[in-house]
Subunit: 202 residues, 2 copies
């Protein structure tokens, strides 16, 4: 019986690919064989893109979103309301919120979320820079756009403590039953919170 | 609204990663952000492994399995029965069959499967080399270990036509209801074939 891969190259590739989140050894082998089978230039392009991503990516000095130049497109735009900041975990959240077309303020990208289990502490995030932006006096509202998870709540708690000394309105994106969702099939915690946090008709 | 990524580096990385099978744009962005967040050395190691995979992988000259040296471990082993060949699509199938511990012969790795839709013709596979191995006279049985799909059946049909002029036994791995499977939930084609191909008690 063969327990090991017959080649060091394939073993190495499977090892590295399977370190990616959500990719196990079997998928990694499938991907490695795909990388071997398709035209060589394509596979080398992938490797090149990964190297470039790590060595040449820059960040917006104001909101810390990934960006090529100085200020990112959103921070540089004159159409955005710079008195409202939405604090998010990473670029994916910015893209998701931008796609709704419902937010015209600026962002602040934390670059992660406080997670003692993963070894991510407040010092690893762009929190000092957020405090400095709020302290500058241009901001009137900070919306916390964090996921309703344990880590998201921890981060929100930490941020509210840091920011409550400033004269800004602090808010969080609404949590409740998703539009189109069914009461019966909503989990108890979400349903419970949506009752406690009920909104009065005006 | 932002329809494009705010950085060329991230756009390029997402583009290349999403070319991999089974990975869409959303997963590609998730992976790209992961590559950015974890230690730089790890991400560069991945890129390096991909480059090495493409530029340094060698193949066994006899069975065409990926291998580092001359003959692969299986072909070089004295414990294997070199009169039986099992023809498979790629390394994954070799690993799967080896894990059963039920096969002691040698393999022949085609390096793909005949698929006009994907532009893979018999000339792209190691079929000539298979014919040469069979023609050498050392082989008494060729087992076709191909997937029971349209492409697998096409390849099997092509191979039986190529090999029937030689005095070797041709066989295929059994198709039928999987062990532990439920008759009721087996698809009609598998069930139909398992009735037509029923095995008489001896």
């Amino acid at each position: 019986m063969m327990n090991n891969y017959p080649s060091k190259m394939i073993e190495q590739a499977v090892e590295e690919i399977s370190k990616l989140p959500g990719i196990g050894k079997k998928s990694a082998l499938r991907l490695a064989l795909h990388l071997l089978k398709r035209p060589e230039a394509q596979s080398l392009q992938l490797a090149h893109a990964v190297v470039q991503l790590r060595t040449e990516t820059k960040y917006c000095p104001q909101c810390h979103m990934i960006s090529d130049g100085d200020l990112c497109g959103i921070c540089a735009s004159h159409k955005r309301d710079e008195s409202i900041l939405c604090v998010v975990e990473d670029l994916r959240d910015v893209l998701a919120i931008e796609n709704t077309g419902q937010f015209t303020g600026l962002y602040h990208v934390l670059g992660g979320i406080i997670s003692p289990l993963s070894g991510i502490s407040p010092g690893d995030l762009t929190i000092e820079s957020l405090v400095a932006r709020v302290a500058s006096g241009k901001v009137s509202e900070v919306i916390l756009g964090l996921s309703p998870t344990m880590e998201g709540d921890t981060t929100a708690f930490y941020l509210t403590k840091k920011l409550k000394e400033f004269p800004v309105k602090l808010s969080t994106i609404a949590r409740g039953i998703p539009i189109g969702g069914d009461l019966e099939y909503t989990d108890e915690i979400t349903l419970g919170r949506s009752i406690v946090g009920r909104v009065t008709y005006e």
